[in-house]
Symmetry: C2
Subunit: 758 residues, 2 copies
């Protein structure tokens, strides 16, 4: 879609890689000094320090820091002290959450050749970066269902929906069996949930060397990737329905809050599950009989992968302590000088699974560095116009507990006061990735084009655009990637932000409250995936592989620091609705295409089933069956959504034109009025009723997919209803989304009218 009006970025000459040109409003002199934005950023940047981040990361990652561990609490208390030293008004908020911990675990092969899975990770010789005076959490999956089960095992590949369809075609049922799935291609929680839904008694998840082990690079300590005894811990809370404490869905887990019974929680699974290493998994996979797996199911272990069942039974036992545990959120504030009731919030979690030097501490130390620098600016006399709130979340790993309970507790105030929430998490060497509210694209693009990438010396935004264009060339690149590449290739366009799904602490803000949010990090070159959620995610690993010398830790601090400072000081609205309009137009067209593709596929498949071709083409000596029948796809009325997208396009262009004509000429009072109108405009894109079938998710523009886990679905109500054959839900969701988009348009028109009459 070509824009008849120049984009905000274009208007200001701030195309990627161009000279630094300030965004109007953002460059207005700070309140309590005469600093220009450029000078402010320069002073901020001067206080960003790699050695400082290294020292903090080393200290915070010196011992296991999972929820409930002494070191996790100690880190929170230490951070509280640091924030105070930096000059922030800081405190700790405590929530009491259901966080199970393992009491007893066993995974063994029965029969003539018994074998006991290790369930522990040995220390890596030469990595003394963690002193480890406290014990690491053993192999464990939080919110699995506990149990003591014995059954043959079945290999289910990645354990996603399509894998179960393929198993059914091979005549394999997992009912009464224990499944063994490999990590990857979908969130781990779905692997256990789908196993449970298909009648499995238990679930083993292992890390195949094909996915993050020796097939991908040398393993730690020789290289960055997962050693044979590496185990990926994690949560399997059913986040397709909610996030946060499973016993307080939708409200804060403050001390004394009413809890639902554990059995009543929709988020806790019913079957036992455990993660294992590939050294252990090899023993289990070698037990398999049955058909050879389809080609895409093969891992990199040197054996013939077969679906099973195993010739002998496997015994799985998990027993947990299901008591409530306290979590510690650190909340630090600097009050705004002009608009103290307008908040810019920034967060990263502090809990890990073991030492967590990369996940989450690499992001956390960047955040601390920003906080220190802002504190220094304040000490030197500068004050932000708006209130800045820095947060260090606890309990992100089990289910965004710290951030979600906080956002649920303070929901009304947060919706009323928050301009934007900016999140980070694991950070590593590489390329900027940034997801978020689409109308914040120009703001982020513009500021990111002022930060220099240390490896290539172009701006991090120019490098991001380059990567978007190159990634779209891969054979598996989807429509979203091609849309992004098309815009990234044109300096007149802003390179779109990725749509937000789930997997970090923006969930409570964006998914649940509908607040504008950005999620930012660097990566792609650090190979932190090879030690993800394992004992080998250490300071030494991060220094050697993840982010040598924390160079990208400093880049992250600068990138986000600038966004925070600019958002806190901007006198004109940071939103650029045309970018949202372009994105929505793409989403709607993409859904329409998807609907047509599915209709065609269903018709073709129906003819093939009628003609019995699947059976005729199959090898009769191997078990085979028809694929599950696709539902015939009716013509779905998406007109309201298509009209709303067109409405948004017109409204955004009108706003752009009015803004271009008048924006920078407004009086201070008019700017403030305009800002107030635009301030909460993103919240119009959510609906208090939430998505059909999962009311916790209020945001109608994007959400984590019900069957992707972290991965985002855009216009999820409509898209997933079509994907799942819920035709009336698709129509209803189209109306729901259209209403939200029209509400956005209405607010935008008010802003346009103000601009025109100013």
């Amino acid at each position: 879609m070509k824009n008849r009006f120049p984009s905000l970025t274009r208007l200001l000459g701030a195309a990627a890689g161009c000279a630094i040109v300030s965004l109007p409003g953002l460059s207005a002199a700070p309140a309590s000094s005469t600093l220009t934005q450029t000078a402010l950023f320069a002073r901020f940047d001067a206080m960003i320090s790699a050695p400082l981040q290294q020292a903090w990361d080393k200290q915070m990652a010196s011992n296991p820091n999972q929820v409930g561990s002494p070191h996790d609490k100690a880190n929170a208390l230490w951070e509280l002290g640091e924030f105070k030293k930096f000059g922030w008004d800081a405190n700790i908020e405590v929530f009491d959450v259901l966080y199970p911990t393992p009491l007893k675990e066993k995974l063994e092969i029965l029969g003539p050749h018994p074998f006991h899975a290790t369930l522990q990770e040995p220390a890596i010789p030469g990595d003394g970066s963690a002193s480890e005076t406290e014990p690491a959490l053993p192999a464990y999956l939080a919110y699995q269902g506990d149990g003591d089960v014995t059954a043959p095992i079945v290999y289910v590949n990645y354990g996603m929906k399509a894998d179960y369809d393929a198993l059914a075609r091979m005549g394999i049922s997992v009912k009464g069996k224990i499944v063994i799935a490999r990590y990857g291609h979908g969130w781990r929680g779905l692997k256990v949930l789908l196993a449970q839904q298909h009648g499995a008694l238990g679930c083993i998840i292992y890390s195949d060397p094909a996915d993050d082990g020796y097939a991908t690079d040398s393993v730690y300590p020789k290289g960055p990737q997962r050693p044979s005894f590496g185990i990926q811990r994690g949560s399997v809370e059913d986040t397709s329905v909610m996030n946060g404490d499973p016993l307080t869905p939708g409200y804060g887990a403050v001390p004394g809050a009413k809890r639902i019974p554990i059995k009543a929680s929709p988020a806790i699974l019913k079957i036992p599950a455990i993660p294992i290493s590939y050294a252990d998994a090899e023993h289990f996979l070698a037990l398999m009989t049955g058909d050879v797996v389809p080609a895409g199911w093969r891992g990199a272990l040197p054996l013939t992968y077969r679906v099973g069942p195993s010739k002998v039974a496997v015994h799985l036992l998990v027993k947990s302590d299901w008591s409530l545990k306290p979590i510690y959120d650190v909340i630090a504030k600097i009050k705004g000088s002009e608009y103290p009731n307008q908040w810019v919030i920034r967060g990263n979690h502090h809990d890990g699974w073991v030492e967590g030097a990369a996940d989450p501490l690499s992001g956390q130390v960047a955040l601390l560095n920003e906080a220190k620098a802002i504190g220094e600016l304040v000490k030197s006399g500068w004050r932000p116009k708006r209130t800045i709130i820095y947060t260090s979340w606890d309990g992100e790993e089990p289910g965004l507990l710290g951030s979600v309970e906080w956002t649920e507790t303070h929901a009304a105030a947060l919706r009323e006061h928050t301009l934007v929430y900016i999140n980070s998490d694991t950070n590593a060497r590489g390329i900027l990735y940034i997801s978020g509210s689409q109308d914040w694209t120009a703001f982020a693009d513009h500021l990111d084009s002022k930060v220099t990438d240390p490896e290539t010396k172009v701006s991090v935004e120019a490098r991001r655009r380059a990567a978007l264009r190159v990634r779209a060339l891969t054979p598996t690149a989807g429509a979203q990637a091609k849309f992004a590449a098309r815009l990234a290739a044109n300096p007149k366009d802003n390179a779109p932000l990725g749509p937000l799904g789930s997997g970090s602490d923006y969930g409570g803000f964006y998914d649940h409250l509908g607040i504008a949010a950005l999620n930012i990090g660097y990566g792609g070159e650090g190979h932190t995936d090879g030690v993800y959620h394992s004992r080998y995610d250490t300071f030494a690993h991060q220094m050697r592989f993840g982010d040598p010398d924390f160079v990208y830790g400093t880049v992250l601090a600068k990138t986000i620091g600038h966004l925070v400072l600019a958002a806190a000081d901007s006198t004109l609205p940071p939103q650029h609705p045309s970018d949202l309009a372009k994105a929505v137009d793409f989403f709607v067209k993409d859904i329409r295409k998807e609907e047509k593709t599915r209709r065609k596929a269903a018709l073709r498949q129906a003819a093939m089933l009628r003609d019995n071709v699947f059976t005729l083409a199959a090898d009769p000596t191997r078990t085979h069956g028809n694929p599950p029948a696709l539902k015939a796809v009716p013509h779905i009325d998406l007109t309201p959504l298509e009209s709303a997208a067109a409405h948004l396009d017109r409204a955004a262009k009108a706003y752009d034109a009015a803004f271009a004509a008048k924006g920078t000429h407004l009086s201070t009072a008019a700017r403030a009025r305009l800002f107030t109108i635009m301030f909460r405009i993103d919240e119009t894109l959510s609906d208090p009723k939430g998505l059909i079938g999962r009311a916790w998710y209020k945001n109608l523009v994007s959400a984590p997919g019900r069957y992707t886990g972290y991965g985002a679905k855009t216009l999820p109500g409509v898209r997933e209803a079509i994907e799942e054959g819920r035709w009336s839900d698709a129509h209803a969701s189209a109306i729901q989304a259209a209403a939200a988009i029209n509400a956005y348009c209405a607010q935008l028109k008010t802003a346009t009218a103000l601009l025109k009459r100013s």
Copy 2:
């Protein structure tokens, strides 16, 4: 494309799976008896015997039978005797060809941990099906270049063009190195040729377990696939320029023929090359330093695949005996009663690499069984109207030597007299595959719909159609597969034959002489690939896995026997030009699409190179470079070809209409006149000048790809010129192909005129 006229098959109600209805003309009473075609087929079928095929295969595969081996000659002599016993007029034609054999071979790792590659295959315990009184050929690649070289090795994945492009981007040159490539994704000869073209000193080719080893199924003897010590021998003659004896290009290697010097042969490579097992390859791949390979380059050995070069040097020595050797073609004839000068030729080779129970003997014993049955029919008083010639070729493995030298020697007579050549080779359990001249589609479809598949009890044609439809659902299915599936789904259409490439003995007939040809076999369920060209391609393996009890050997004999009998007796032309017209229409549109896609890709890439995005998106700690620049694609004038395709469409429809109105009402004399016009019509589709740049290939409809090896390219002159950026060749080839198609139309119009006036 919808046909306004019913297809020939439709006309006769012979849709796949329908009741058997005879094709007109084909059902006419045989010459010397009153048998109907149905009765003739029934009598023929009654003489097809699985135990007979088993016994013959066991005997012929009892010792190694590579070219020049005593047992290969013995097999030819034994077959000669059998043909005579069956009542055929048989003889042996001998050619003297350049066929090198190894004198000395060595492949070793130098340095502190020396290792010698095995280069021999141990016997498999329990497989005593071959008595092996004679030695097997060791690891060897015929027509490699001999040499004694020492250098580090570089891993080049499948060693295809795209792999070298990727290597260049990784900063790796193979100049002065020895390459190690894995088998698969392209013909082995290209691996050595491309290594040579890129300046490598030598080439090692190994069988990765990902491609036909333990990753794909259990290995022999537990399962069918390649054991760790299995070696794939083969030829690396440069068949992109010619086939047959390298010293007699284009003419017969009869005793006393003039030979070009070995060094002058365009078909013999210049560097030494050798094939090894994956047990050996693991030692070599473990030597590698350098970057980790791209994901698609990973095999299934339990190590980190790296591009290299190796940290130590490797020594490769190959020295061959380059003397001429005799080869023995068995030629057997039964003279036609009415049209003795119209020949139906059928062939399969008899030489293998070791015992060759599957390749080639599984097809060979089916051929023998057909010959025996036809002999019995003749003994019982039946005579074919046309002359039937059965051939058992020698020297196919090194380069289609026996068949090509025979076709080159008898070129003029074969072009004048041959109606069709029908080929087979390896046969296995599974689904019918049939490639060939497109105007023979209806004929093959019709007859194949009368043969019952033993596994599914539908016709082999119905099962073929089912497989075509299912295969088109795979994500990698290309336009050709989707075209075939679309027609296969519609009972009113004929399911197209695959286009002929290379790799078996139809090459001399189809590619070089332009004679109509069919290549037929069963497979897909036999896992003969796991023992391909190895010592483990034994009778025991074929009985257990390839084609248990030779059930599909009997199906192949029936399938081809019916085609031979019908072609020999048909009183009406077997060609159905509408199928050719549909195929040509698709080919032309597909090329136009390809041209547009390439133009767009070149424009996009030019912008990306201009913006330096490949460098910006790359990890600077790994070697990286720009992809090779795509040539800008001009608008290529394909109008002559598009007009010819339209011309053919009209001409074919006119013929169909005339044939439908008059065909079956013609007098015997008129039928004979019509047959004579149509008899050699396929030869119009070739040009004596041949394809630009490789004159040995005369057929303009399809040819093996210059950079695919066996795989076919349709309208190859035009398509490959576009793929390779030879724009003026593309235009010239379009004119050349258009002229051939127009010549076909002219001949077709003569036939149509005859029909109309009859």
